[in-house]
Amino acid sequence: MRPQDILKPGPSGLACLPGGFHIDPVRPVDRAVITHGHSDHARPGHGAVLATRETLDMMALRYGENFAGTTQAIAYGESVRLGDVTVSCHPAGHVLGSAQMAVTCGGTCIVASGDYKDAYDPTCTPFEVVPCDVFITEATFGLPVFRHPDAAHEVRKLLDSVALFPERAHLVGAYSLGKAQRVIALIRAAGYDAPIYLHGAMEKITRYYEQRGVPLGDLRMVKGMKKADLAGTITLAPPSATADLWTRRFPDPVTAFASGWMRVRARARQRGIELPLVISDHADWDGLVATIGATGAGEIWVTHGQEDALVHWCQTKGLVARPLALVGYGDEDETDDVPGGADAQESEPA
């Protein structure tokens, strides 16, 4: 069977006709297989959802218990039969519970990797290479200018700044699901054990990480704190909050932003960031090309991001490559829709 007869892009997302399901559908469908809990991949209103335990829990946190008709949890390494295909689940290293879904049909294996990264992250299971015939890769950072430095080095920059400016508050914009917890874990790994403060919108999802056995140290809510007491502290907040009135409760805040986009100066300046931290939950260019090579796939489908450059690179390496025209997948750093964060708008109406 030709790969395009197994998985095919359509208006609802990537459809698997022989399996009778969609992967990360952007509209309500009968059966959905979901790679991870970010809101552009995990949407409510499907008939049945297959995903990891963590992804299902995150969807329930965001949308309420009745986000789908029925749910089925799948663990890393597990396979299930859906129609004429077998779906197996493998860690994607992107956020807690993120998975690559391998779809096998008639001897052809296609891996839909969702969002992934091959860099160190103490808050989730490391990425695993899944050998396949067709590899579907994201291209969020699909340009060779995106080479993420060691995240520990970026966290060191933050802690140096905290030491240099003890009278100022450090406000770190970080996407609420995954990035924030990873940044906290990295700060802890660097030996910082003072309390870390959280924007209210991050509480539930962060507590969920702790419940799943990710230790994050002494975490406190920033709400109700006296301004003066926030001097010399670190607070994590959704990126949108770092640019609004909410920041006035902090003494002379240093505004940091943890994102792969911070690699490009103009992007950091646009946002008025004073301390850009290049920390990403997506693979960088080197990670993308290394992963593509490691899968052994002869055919690469490239989706959401900078498809052109990655497709071009694949072709220069003799691989069959094409962009998958999928719409509806964004870039989480630009829109933070927090699971369990109904109070994300603590002070900001929009």
């Binding site: 340009l143 060779p144 200018v145 995106f146 080479r147 430095p149 920059k157 240099l164 400016f165 002379d252 690699r263 490009v264 100066r265 103009a266 950091a268 300046r269 008025g272 960031i273 004073e274 301390l275 850009p276 900078q306 052109d308 450059a309 071009h312 690179w313 220069t316």
Partner: protein
């Protein structure tokens, strides 16, 4: 180098002055000699070496990367140095051996001596050894496009903070110091005595005036001020001292501290002319003028004496140079700069009288008892004492009677009030070939003034001029354009325009209008090159705010609409 790059990177994002200071001081504390001294030199603009052309950087990246990937990346990032810094792929050899990155001193000392042909290879090696931020800073440094948003003054203040010293002390020592400033840092860290300024005739940082606005007068009391002419010459500092062997050393400095003594050998004897038994070292702040039969000549005449490597006897005879003194900064062992202006003025009068040299005189003070009186004097200098020299009067200077002589442009001390408000100093930014008989010359100029935005200080284009200069001046500008092109876009040459490098035009124009079509928001009517200011560093060119204020005055006093069609016409 990586640590210095990190500092630059952080400074580029930090808007607060005090926070910038803290970052720089902290860098000085953590970094060893001589790197920190060279960093101080870089921040104060004291480094100079030959720059690499952007084309070379393009060639280097083309050898390492796929052209399609480079084009897509450059298009996304929008800045050549940054694109190359981010996408530079290290070779497998480099990844395996992981050579140590160069120190800032290695980079600086190599660049100062490096031959042009060795540049590509050396740059490649450094790009391999540095991290992304290090590569970015290196490329900005070698292409001469490092914009840090930190003034020299701020960098010196940060150094002073390292030893809790008064920044003014560092400023006073500065002329006698040289990179990498080992003696300065030793003193700041309490490891050595304060460095002695060993130069017998050192430059003192110049005090500058603010342009006064109508609205300022309301807050100022005429009794607090003295007034004098603002002469249309070249502001200089004339210094005389005795070296260790007892020889008298005389020097002329431009207001940026450049030694221009060689251009004016005819004035130097006057700086040595005191009776040897009564000789006293001195430093005079004044104006260079050409006088013929004791009449001050126009700036155009004076201009013949500028930028000359060799000065012929004929030139000196036909353009006799003269020093008109404004201020006395030191006399004998006394540093007078902390005294009030009136006391310095009294010392100056006595000193010039004692000197009794025909080439040196004193700029007269103007009598006035109200702002109205000085307004009338400024409007018509001739009957107010300028006489036939009136055409060489550029305006009046107002100086607070109690003002100490402070480096830079301290607030509220000195004011300049130019006669013609429709003259601005602008910086040449782009040049294009002219038409007709000028088609082989770069004769169409776009000039800009300073403004401040998110990216810090930068020049914004405010107009174009095609005339106003002589054929001889055109040749010189054309040569300047060709030698100082930083980039070429089709027919347009980008000409170097940085704080310390570039060409300043004094632009005359007939009127101003608001214009949404211009990036600056203002359009000039009939702009023309009034004269070339080879003597003026671009940092001292005018600011967009000055134009905006003129605009307010213009619209208030001249309600007639400005003919848009006339703007920018040939």
């Amino acid at each position: 180098m990586n640590r210095f790059a990190e500092l630059l990177d952080r400074l580029a994002y930090e808007p607060g002055r005090n926070n910038k200071l803290r970052l720089i001081t902290s860098y000085f504390r953590e970094t060893a000699d001589p790197d920190r001294g060279l960093a101080l030199a870089a921040l104060t603009g004291a480094l100079s070496f030959k720059y690499a052309k952007p084309a070379l950087i393009r060639d280097l990246i083309a050898m390492r990367t796929d052209p399609v990937l480079f084009a897509l990346s450059y298009d996304y990032v929008g800045d050549l140095s940054e694109t190359v810094a981010l996408m530079w792929p290290k070779t497998d050899d480099v990844l395996r051996n992981n050579p140590p990155p160069p120190t800032l001193s290695e980079v600086v000392s190599t660049l100062t001596t490096l031959g042009k042909t060795d540049m590509p290879q050396q740059l490649t090696r450094w790009l391999d050894e540095l991290d992304e931020t290090g590569r970015w800073a290196l490329l900005k440094l070698v292409t001469g496009s490092l914009r840090i948003g930190v003034s020299a003054r701020l960098a010196k203040t940060a150094a002073a903070a390292l030893g809790d010293k008064d920044p003014h002390d560092v400023e006073l020592l500065w002329p006698g110091l040289a990179p990498p400033y080992l003696d300065l840092f030793a003193w700041l860290e309490g490891r050595a005595e304060k460095p002695v300024n060993l130069d017998p005739a050192p430059f003192r940082p110049v005090m500058l005036a603010h342009a006064i606005e109508e609205s300022d007068f309301a807050h100022l009391n005429p009794a607090d001020f003295t007034a004098e002419w603002k002469w249309d010459g070249i502001r200089i500092q004339a210094v005389s001292g005795r070296d260790a062997d007892g020889e008298i050393v005389a020097r002329l400095y431009s207001r940026t501290g450049e030694d221009i003594s060689q251009s004016f050998p005819d004035l130097l004897p006057s700086l040595r002319s005191q009776n040897p038994s009564q000789y006293k070292p001195f430093a005079i702040d004044g104006e260079l003028l050409v006088l013929r039969e004791s009449r001050v000549q126009s700036f155009n005449v004076l201009q013949q004496r500028l930028n000359r490597k060799t000065v012929t006897p004929k030139l000196m005879k036909e353009h006799p140079i003269h020093l008109r003194a404004y201020d006395l900064l030191s006399e004998g062992d006394d540093d007078l700069r902390t005294l009030p202006f009136t006391e310095r003025r009294a010392r100056l009068e006595a000193f010039i009288a004692r000197l009794d040299d025909p080439r040196i005189d004193i700029s007269p003070q103007l009598e006035f008892d109200s702002w109205d009186a000085i307004t009338a004097i400024r409007a018509d200098p001739a009957p107010a004492g300028a006489g036939e020299d009136a055409q060489a009067v550029e305006g009046v200077m107002l100086k607070r009677r109690d003002s100490a002589y402070l480096p830079g442009r301290p607030k509220g001390q000195w004011w300049k009030w130019k006669r013609d408000p429709r003259l601005i100093d602008a910086v040449l930014m782009y040049a294009q070939r002219g038409h007709g008989k000028r088609s082989s010359y770069y004769s169409d100029y776009t000039f800009g003034v300073w403004t401040r935005d998110d990216e810090g200080e930068r020049l914004v284009p405010v107009g174009k001029a095609y005339f106003g200069f002589t054929d001889e001046e055109l040749l010189k500008i054309d040569r300047f354009v060709r030698r100082h092109t930083t980039e070429t876009f089709g027919p347009v040459r980008h000409v170097v325009h940085e704080a310390d490098k570039g060409l300043v035009f004094e632009v005359a124009f007939e009127g101003l209008a608001r214009s949404p079509r211009h990036k600056s928001g203002v359009a000039m009517r009939f702009p023309r090159i009034h004269r070339l200011r080879w003597d003026k560093p671009p940092r001292e060119a005018d600011r967009l705010e000055t134009l905006e204020k003129m605009l307010v005055t213009e619209t208030a006093t001249e309600p007639t609409a400005i003919d848009e069609a006339a703007i920018g016409a040939h």
